[in-house]
Every structure is written in structure tokens, then in C-alpha cells.
């Protein structure tokens, strides 16, 4: 009788787990369709990665039901996991190719690193907040063999694996550390979000030219059309 109960419980647990996984998958596909493709993201590799990575595993347990909503979510320590569209946008804009090596500053939940790891060979990621970094390291190393997590100050970058084809800064500071610019390949791209928590309206792309010159470009995923211009 006890064995039967155990079997039934395991069976029900497995069924409910599968049902839940199906539900999350449906939400994920809907997220890609309505939040990402609908806003103009078309890079196939990016879209596939966004469809594949289970975002709900990268948010705190209490936030799982909100994981696929069109907004940033709190992950503790004053940090957020970016809105899905912003993750997709940042991924597309650095033009990831399979043989690229990328550096991420600010691992946070690990979600952005996971998305990149679906597309490219090697992802190096640094998190300064130790508990967040440890948590992300456990998740990422269990899922991906090509993600390397370091806990420390992102200011110095990770020189021994550079130069990098692209650098994704997810936790921006009010200055761009010179070592990061140094570790960016000529022709490489760095993307940085600018905004207070829960509000990322602006992204900045830093490009290192072949001649060593550096330019920046403001990218505005949400376009604010000034009203007076509209009336003209």
C-alpha cells in the first residue's frame, strides 16, 4: 500500500511538473512572439536563444509566475533582471557569432549569460555581489559548459581571456572602466544600459574602431516622440 502511495505521489508530481514546464514554455513562446519579434528583433539566433532559455529558472522563486512578463523583475541586492526585450535587444546588437568570445560585466541572475551561451562558444561573466554571483554560478555551470563565472570587481575585466569580440555590461557604472575598453578587440562592440532600477529606456553602444578610435551611439528601444514635432 505504501509503495502504491509513493508511486502515485511520484506520478502526480511528475505530471504536474510536466504541466508546469509546458505552461512556462507556452509563456516563453508567447513572450518571444509578442514582446520581442513584435518590436522588431529578427536575429534568428537571438530569437532561438530567447525561446530556449527557461527565464523562470533565473528569477527568484517568488517571481516565477511573473518571469515572462514584459518588465524587469527584482532579484535582490538592489539588482534587477532586465525586461526580456532588453535582453534580446542587447544580444542582437552585439551581433553574436558562434566562434565569438564575450565578456559580461554584472552576471546578476545569469539570464543574459545563458542567452549568450546558447549562441556563442565562450562566455566570461563577472559579478561583484558575491551571493548573486555564487547563485548564478551554480545555475550556469550546471546548464552550460561554455560559461565561466568570476566573482569580483568588473573594473579590471578578465584580461587573460581577452581581447573580446563584445562586452555586455548589464550593471552600468557612471564611468566605463578603461581596462574594459582596453580588452575590447578592434572592431569590437560594448553595450551598456543606462537607467535607474526597473527603468531601462536607453542603451549605449560603444564601438572600438580599427584605428583605435572610440565612438558611442545612443540606442533607444522606447522612442519618445516629442509632441511638438508630431504636430508639425
Amino acid at each position: 500500500m505504501n509503495k502504491l502511495n509513493l508511486f502515485l505521489a511520484t506520478f502526480l508530481l511528475a505530471i504536474s511538473h510536466m504541466a508546469l514546464a509546458d505552461e512556462f514554455e507556452r509563456e516563453r513562446n508567447s513572450m518571444v512572439r509578442t514582446q520581442i519579434q513584435a518590436r522588431g528583433i529578427s536575429d534568428r539566433a537571438t530569437l532561438n536563444a530567447m525561446r530556449t532559455v527557461p527565464r523562470h529558472l533565473y528569477v527568484p522563486y517568488a517571481q516565477r509566475r511573473n518571469a515572462y512578463q514584459d518588465r524587469p523583475l527584482p532579484i535582490g541586492y538592489g539588482q534587477t533582471i532586465s525586461q526580456p526585450y532588453i535582453v534580446a535587444y542587447m544580444t542582437e546588437i552585439v551581433r553574436p557569432k558562434p566562434d565569438d568570445i564575450m565578456l559580461e560585466i554584472g552576471t546578476g541572475s545569469g539570464y543574459q549569460a545563458a542567452v549568450l551561451a546558447e549562441i556563442i562558444d565562450q562566455v566570461y561573466t563577472i559579478e561583484i555581489v558575491s551571493p548573486l554571483g555564487e547563485q548564478a554560478k551554480r545555475k550556469l555551470e550546471a546548464q552550460y559548459g561554455n560559461v565561466h563565472v568570476k566573482i569580483g570587481d568588473g573594473y579590471h575585466g578578465w584580461a587573460e581571456h581577452g581581447p573580446y569580440d563584445a562586452i555586455v555590461v548589464t550593471a552600468a557604472a557612471e564611468y566605463i572602466p578603461p581596462p574594459l575598453v582596453e580588452q575590447l578587440k578592434e572592431g569590437g562592440r560594448m553595450i551598456i544600459p543606462v537607467g535607474s532600477p526597473f527603468q531601462v529606456q536607453q542603451l549605449m553602444l560603444v564601438e572600438k574602431k580599427q584605428d583605435g578610435g572610440i565612438t558611442t551611439r545612443s540606442l533607444m528601444p522606447v522612442r519618445f516622440v516629442p509632441f511638438e514635432r508630431e504636430r508639425e
Binding site: 557612471e174 564611468y175 578603461p178 543606462v194 526597473f198 527603468q199 560603444v206 565612438t215 519618445f224 516629442p226
Partner: protein, 838 residues
């Protein structure tokens, strides 16, 4: 209880009331400070306003259970006061518990935060409610001596404001509520009778033990994870190396090997960014401790746009406004000026830099060429004769990534048109004003700053501002320079060279070609340049039609960081999404939410007693109008006076305390004297007329008097302030007790209602005044205050219209009620409700 030196029970009650009133106001101010540290000040204000509605709720309960409470007042009042003290002691500690901790940022993204917020409201509500109920009972029980009791209440409140100021400077913020709680406990015990003291002794004993434990081991203040201090403390090896309680706020200095300072550093900079300690005031970033030596040749800020005015020409005499912990000063001294005048209002930080961190900062604050003025910038500019500066540097505006509008309702008199006009007068003919701002998106701060600069040039007779303004943009900053004389050809060329070296782009420069504007930093949005050029060309439509408020701030509306146009809320919500909108302009929205919620609660507290007052067949409109206008008028005048005297004294904390305490003490004196006047309608009418007359005079003469005497000696300024604040406050203090005494003769059942109305409306008035000031200016706030006292005057001038027996209506209503029940009109109910005259 037999207190040797105070045997008379009436005297003990009056002293007890004074002590308790002091505790309530001190508790309110200390909570404001604490919640400002945990979250930020607008939010503190939101919680406190709801808690303060305890006054309104106490009026409601008094109206509903008047007889019951009055019969038992002998033991209820001291018990309420002691309990209030107990709750004051533990309230903040309760909100530190995991269950009650919430975050204002999460409020807009997690519904689970709402019950926690409600719990916080309740926790803070209880001490105010119990405390106010005790005061209300005393007022109603002793209506005949209301003048004396109201005097004790106001005097106590005034002294409570001064007490908390003393505590701010000497103990840590989390230790203050337990200290204040003890004051109320003492008041409760003092007011107890022998017969009923045992319960109070038990509660008081528990409160005393708890308070001593909390004072001895106060624990940490649980700062929001989104505040800059918390984020900094997450860095490796972060440590608070200095913590100091100061009346300007809690000052903390943090050290971490990962703390560096280089705002919007040039991407061409290849050196090491130095590690520096950060200074926080009330858990918000304030500045960095500069590393300075007299032999130093370069400074990290030379690689930011802030170097622009220094690259244009040499500067001898420099004024630095709000130079925070000194980083801009260290930068200035690299360029060897002959004299630097620094204006820093936070005296605590200045003292700390001159003592604790003097060695570390290379004795920067003791530099022989440096003069430090510890006042607000605006006060310095107004009180000094023209100084002939080569350069005036304003502090950096906004913050990296925006501030989410949390400073929206912070009055900033250094950024108004009047302040810029004063700066202009302090410049020598070749001098310049420089100001840097973070780039925000959508563009607000930079455009408002440019509008202010252009308007300043116009105000001072410059017909072609484009020849006087230079601006340089990096990836994150814009620095504007407004020069009194036209920019020279050499200066323009130096700016171009500077931009090229640093990978910056000129934004405004005489002879600038459009393609020069985006060599290194592409904006990808031509609209920004369209607006910049439109503002420079002085097209008013550009400013008027923009989706945000970018009109220059003025002394009448000194809200430089306020950008939200209420009329555009819907449009912004559509553009950015409703969920993200709060994070664009959170500060102003919080005030609106505060006003709405406190208005709803106030209406409930005002209407509920009417259920009981239905039995009174006397007109209630006089009571409602008179006590509501008194509540609004008193608070509006207080807010105006604070605003004016902050400018006058240049030290907000002292000015606010001085205004509030002088007002309350003078009002108390007025209240005491009012007891000698008979309770006829004539006297409130006369006093109302006097106040209206005074306030009308203030609308015309207050600003000129203050401006004319701002440079006077401190003793003279204090005398002027005491007269200007004290005289109208003296009369204002008469209005409430005169009204209450009249009301007790007219219909005593309405007295608790009046107390509730006055309390509820006073709380609404604070956020209402702010909303009016933002939308229409302080002049309108003053206008409304004058109207309020004029209405109060009219209510008693035509008292027969407002305070009359309504037997006709009453009769018909009873007839209707009786008929509906199938009873005759001679129902005995008629006789029981004898307020109806047959």
C-alpha cells in the same frame, strides 16, 4: 499620583499635555528622518501624512463616543498618553521586522507590497491616534479653559520641534523614538490619578525597559536595497569607516577597494581611476572624499566635460556652489586659482573634512586660498555684494541613469532664474557660469538647464545668447558655460581641441557646423538638437509644447527637478508603459497619491461623525467651513513662511525649526490670551479680519522686506523674523480656541467634530500646498491662505447664516420619518431630540 511640586491636578494635566504634545511633534519629525533614510523623503511624508490622520480619526471616535469617553476621562487620558509613548518607542522597531519591511520601488511592481504598506500605516497610525485622542478628550472636557490647554499643546509642540533638533545633532536617528517615547510615558504618569496609576505604571515600566534596551543597542537602520548606500555596501570589503549624527542628516563614509569616482569619464582615458571613499547623507550619495596634494598636476575630472571652463581660459577668482565633500574643489586647485570661495550648506560634512579627513584629503578644506561659507548657495549670492568672479561653478545636476524624479519636489533655490541673475551680477565682465548635467532620457534636465541659461542671458540684456554659450557633450554628460562677454575665437578653438582630445562633441559653440555635433557620440535622435536649437533661438513654443516641464524654475516655483506635466500623464503612460511611468517621475506621483489617500480618509473621518450628529438639529456648515479653513490657512501660511525663511537664513534645518517653533509658541500665547475674551461671534470675526489684513500685507511686502534685510546682522535678522512670524501667529492661535468656545455654547456635540475636521484638513493641506505650489506657484498658495482666513472671518461676521437652529428642516424631516413609520408627529422622539425647537 502625588508629585511633590505639582499638587494641583489641573496643573499636572496641563503640564502632561504639554510634554505629550512635545513628544508627538518630535516623534513625527524623527520618523520623517528615519523613513527618509530607509526610503526617501517624499515617501516618509506619505506615511506620516496617513499616520497624522490619527488626529482626524480621534475626532471621529470622540464624536461617536463622546459621553462614554468624557465620563471615564480621568483614567483614559493618562492611559492613552502612556500607551502612545509605548507605541512611539516600538513603532519603528516593529517596521524593521522582516514581515513589515517593504520597498517603495517594489510597490509598483509587486502587489504583495501593498498589505505590508498598509501594516506600516497602521503601526505608525496607532501612536498618533492614541496621542491625539488624549488631547482631544482634554480639549473637549475643558472647553471653558480651552485657551490654557491649547496654549500648553502649542507650546509643547513648539518645544518638541526644538528638542528633536537637539537630538538630531547628538544621537543616532534610530535612538530618537525611544527617547521621545519616554517623554510621553512621563507625561502619562504625571497625568495619572492615584486610583488609576497601576496600569500606567505597568505599561510605563515596560516602555522604559524597552526604550533603554533600544537606546543602548539601537541596531542598524534597514536601508532600502535600492538606495545608493545599500548598493555600495554590496561591494567587496565595503565598510562604514565613519558614522556621524548631524542635524543635516546621518553622515556615513564608506570605504571599498571597488569604489571609484570618474563621472562620465572620457573613453580616451587610459590611466587608473583612483579609489576613493564615498560620503552618504541619509543613505543617499553625497560626494567623495578627494585625494588632494598641492603638488598634484592632474585630476580625473580633467578627463570629463567638467573641465570645459578650465580649458577655455585661466581663472583667478572662483565660486563653487554646493561643492559637496570637496571633489570639485580639488579639481579647481589643480588649475591654480588665486582664490576659491566654496559654499557648502552641510556643516557636518565641512567639519568632518576639516578634522577627521583633513590628512587624507591633503588638508584641502584648510587650503590658504579657500574660503568656506556654510550656508545655502542662494543665501550667499543674495547676501554678498558683487564679488567679481571669473568663474561660478554649479554642482552637477541629475544623476547617472536619472533619479526617477525623487527630487522633483525638492525646492532648489540655486537653480531658479533669480539665482542665475544673482550669479550674473557676481561675475566680472569676462566671467562665466558653468554647470554640468547627466544626460537623461527622455531629455529633461539638459533642456531645462539650457532654457534657464538662455533666459538668464536675455534677462541681462544679451540679445544673441548663441555668442555667449558653449556646451560640450560626452557619452554621459553635458557641460554648459554661459559667459558674460562673447566667446573669443581662441576660446572656441580651445574647446574644439578639448573635444578632440577627449572624444567629446561640441553641442553649442559660435560657428558650429551641424556635422561637428556627432563625431564621437551619436545620439541617434535628431529631435534633441531640434529642441536645443529652438531653445537657444528663444522660441517659447518649443518649451511650452514639450512633453515635459522644461520651463525655467523661478522662486515662485523653485522645483528645478520637477518635469511632469499632469496633462501629459496619459500620453507618457502610452509611450513608456504604465508600469514604467512611476520610475520616470516618482516623486510627484507620490505626492498625488498622498493627497488622494489622505483626502479619502479625511472625508471618511469628517463624514462618519455626522451619523451621530444627525441628532443635532443645529446647522453644521459653519463648523465645517470655519475649522476646515483654519486648518488649511494655518498650514499654508506655515509652508510659505518656511519657504521664505529658508532663503533668508540659508540654513534649511535651522530655518524650518525656527519657523515652526516660533509659530507654535506665538500661537500658544495667542491661545492663552484668547481665554480672557468672551466667547461671542464678534471676537473670532475681529481676529480673522486682523489675520487677513496681515497676510494681505505679506503678499505685497514680505519678500521685499526679507530681500532688503538679508545682508543684515544675525541678531537683527532674528528680531525681524520673530516679528514677521510671531505677530500673525499670535492672532492665528486665538482662532481655534475662540471657535471651540463659541461652538461649545452653540452645540457641544459638534466640538469633537471640529477637532477632527481641523486635524484631517491640516494633514491634507501639506500635500495640497505642494501640489498648488508646483502647478501655480507659492503666490497662489499664499492667496489661498488669505482666502481661508477671509472666509473664517466671514463665517463669524455672518454667524447667523452659518450657525443657526434648523428646526424647520428638522421638523419636516421628523414628520417624514414618522409618517414613513406610520406614526403620528407627536412621537416622543421629538421631545428627546430637544435641540429642535418646537
Amino acid at each position: 499620583m502625588n508629585i511633590g511640586f505639582i499638587n494641583d491636578s489641573r496643573q499636572r494635566l496641563i503640564i502632561s499635555l504639554g510634554l505629550h504634545s512635545a513628544a508627538i511633534i518630535a516623534f513625527q519629525l524623527s520618523l520623517m528622518q528615519l523613513i527618509s533614510i530607509v526610503q526617501w523623503h517624499h515617501f516618509a511624508y506619505m506615511i506620516i501624512s496617513v499616520a497624522m490622520l490619527g488626529f482626524g480619526a480621534s475626532g471621529t471616535l470622540l464624536a461617536l463616543a463622546r459621553e462614554w469617553l468624557l465620563k471615564r476621562s480621568g483614567w483614559i487620558v493618562p492611559l492613552l498618553i502612556t500607551s502612545s509613548g509605548m507605541f512611539m518607542t516600538i513603532a519603528f522597531q516593529l517596521t524593521r521586522l522582516e514581515y513589515f519591511r517593504f520597498d517603495v520601488y517594489l510597490l509598483f511592481v509587486e502587489r504583495s507590497q501593498f498589505p505590508i504598506l498598509a501594516a506600516n500605516y497602521l503601526i505608525y497610525f496607532i501612536p498618533f491616534f492614541t496621542g491625539a485622542l488624549a488631547i482631544g478628550i482634554l480639549f473637549i472636557k475643558h472647553t471653558a479653559q480651552i485657551g490654557t490647554y491649547y496654549f500648553s499643546n502649542l507650546l509643547g509642540s513648539g518645544l518638541g520641534g526644538l528638542l528633536v533638533l537637539l537630538l538630531f545633532g547628538n544621537v543616532f536617528p534610530q535612538q530618537i523614538p525611544p527617547i521621545i517615547g519616554l517623554l510621553s510615558v512621563a507625561a502619562g504618569l504625571l497625568g495619572s490619578t492615584k486610583k488609576h496609576i497601576s496600569l500606567n505604571l505597568v505599561i510605563g515600566g515596560v516602555a522604559v525597559i524597552t526604550a533603554f534596551m533600544l537606546i543602548r543597542t539601537p541596531g542598524e537602520v534597514p536601508v532600502s536595497q535600492y538606495k545608493s548606500l545599500s548598493r555600495t555596501m554590496n561591494l567587496p570589503d565595503a565598510e562604514i569607516v565613519k558614522r556621524k549624527a548631524d542635524i543635516h542628516g546621518l553622515i556615513e563614509v564608506v570605504e571599498s577597494p571597488a569604489l571609484r569616482f570618474a563621472p562620465a569619464l572620457s573613453l580616451g582615458f587610459a590611466g587608473e581611476v583612483p579609489v576613493k571613499k564615498n560620503v552618504f547623507v541619509n543613505a543617499d550619495f553625497y560626494g567623495v572624499i578627494p585625494l588632494f596634494s598641492k603638488d598634484q598636476q592632474t585630476h580625473i575630472l580633467d578627463h570629463t566635460t567638467q573641465a570645459l571652463p578650465w580649458r577655455m581660459q585661466n581663472r583667478y577668482k572662483v565660486l563653487m556652489l554646493n561643492a559637496n565633500a570637496g571633489a570639485p574643489l580639488a579639481h579647481a586647485f589643480i588649475h591654480k586659482p588665486g582664490q576659491v570661495d566654496a559654499v557648502i550648506a552641510n556643516r557636518g560634512v565641512v567639519r568632518m573634512m576639516q578634522t577627521d579627513f583633513a590628512n587624507e584629503s591633503g588638508s584641502l578644506f584648510l587650503h590658504e586660498n579657500l574660503n568656506v561659507y556654510q550656508v545655502e548657495p542662494r543665501n550667499y549670492l543674495a547676501s554678498k555684494p558683487p564679488q567679481g568672479y571669473d568663474l561660478i561653478v554649479l554642482p552637477q545636476q541629475d544623476a547617472f541613469g536619472g533619479t526617477a524624479g525623487i527630487n522633483a519636489l525638492q525646492e532648489n533655490y540655486a537653480m531658479t532664474l533669480e539665482a542665475f541673475d544673482l550669479m550674473w551680477k557676481h561675475l566680472r565682465p569676462e566671467g562665466a557660469i558653468a554647470v554640468t548635467t547627466w544626460l537623461d532620457y527622455p531629455s529633461r534636465t539638459s533642456l531645462k538647464l539650457l532654457a534657464t541659461i538662455v533666459q538668464t542671458a536675455h534677462n541681462n540684456g544679451i540679445t544673441e545668447p548663441d555668442k555667449h554659450i558653449a556646451a560640450v557633450r560626452s557619452w554621459g554628460n553635458i557641460t554648459f558655460v554661459l559667459k558674460k562677454s562673447p566667446l573669443s575665437h581662441q576660446e572656441v578653438e580651445r574647446i574644439r581641441t578639448f573635444c578632440k582630445e577627449m572624444f567629446f562633441d561640441p553641442l553649442l559653440l559660435p560657428g558650429l557646423q551641424p556635422e561637428e555635433r556627432q563625431t564621437y557620440n551619436m545620439i541617434g535622435n535628431e529631435d534633441f538638437f531640434h529642441y536645443v536649437d529652438g531653445i537657444l533661438a528663444g522660441k517659447p513654443a518649443i518649451i511650452e509644447d514639450y512633453g515635459f516641464m522644461i520651463h525655467p524654475a523661478t522662486d515662485d516655483k523653485p522645483y528645478f527637478a520637477q518635469f511632469l506635466k499632469l496633462s501629459q500623464l496619459r500620453r507618457l503612460s502610452e509611450t513608456f508603459g504604465g508600469e514604467q511611468l512611476p520610475f520616470l517621475e516618482l516623486g510627484y506621483l507620490i505626492v498625488i497619491v498622498t493627497l488622494v489617500q489622505s483626502t479619502i480618509l479625511a472625508i471618511i473621518f469628517i463624514i462618519l461623525p455626522l451619523l451621530r450628529l444627525r441628532k443635532s438639529y443645529r446647522s453644521k456648515k459653519g463648523t465645517l467651513i470655519y475649522f476646515a479653513t483654519l486648518g488649511i490657512g494655518y498650514m499654508f501660511v506655515e509652508i510659505i513662511l518656511i519657504q521664505r525663511f529658508v532663503l533668508y537664513f540659508g540654513q534649511p534645518v535651522y530655518a524650518i525649526s525656527a519657523v515652526i517653533s516660533t509659530m507654535l509658541i506665538a500661537s500658544g500665547a495667542g491661545s492663552l490670551l484668547s481665554g480672557k475674551l468672551p466667547a461671542t461671534p464678534k471676537h473670532p470675526a475681529i481676529v480673522g479680519a486682523i489675520i487677513t489684513f496681515f497676510l494681505l500685507g505679506y503678499t505685497l511686502f514680505l519678500t521685499p522686506i526679507l530681500q532688503g534685510s538679508i545682508a543684515s546682522t544675525l541678531p537683527l535678522k532674528i528680531i525681524i523674523s520673530l516679528l514677521l512670524i510671531g505677530i500673525p501667529s499670535f492672532f492665528k492661535g486665538m482662532m481655534f480656541p475662540l471657535g471651540i468656545r463659541f461652538l461649545s455654547g452653540y452645540d457641544a456635540t459638534q466640538v469633537p467634530w471640529a477637532w477632527g475636521i481641523n486635524g484631517s484638513v491640516s494633514v491634507i493641506s501639506t500635500s495640497l500646498a505642494m501640489l498648488i505650489a508646483v502647478e501655480a506657484g507659492f503666490r497662489v498658495v499664499m492667496g489661498v491662505a488669505v482666502m481661508c482666513y477671509a472666509i473664517a472671518f466671514l463665517v463669524f461676521s455672518f454667524h447667523k447664516l452659518f450657525f443657526r437652529k434648523t428646526h424647520t428642516r428638522c421638523h419636516s424631516r421628523i414628520v417624514a420619518t414618522a409618517l414613513s413609520r406610520g406614526l403620528g408627529t407627536q412621537n416622543d422622539r421629538w421631545h428627546r431630540t430637544s435641540n429642535c425647537e418646537p
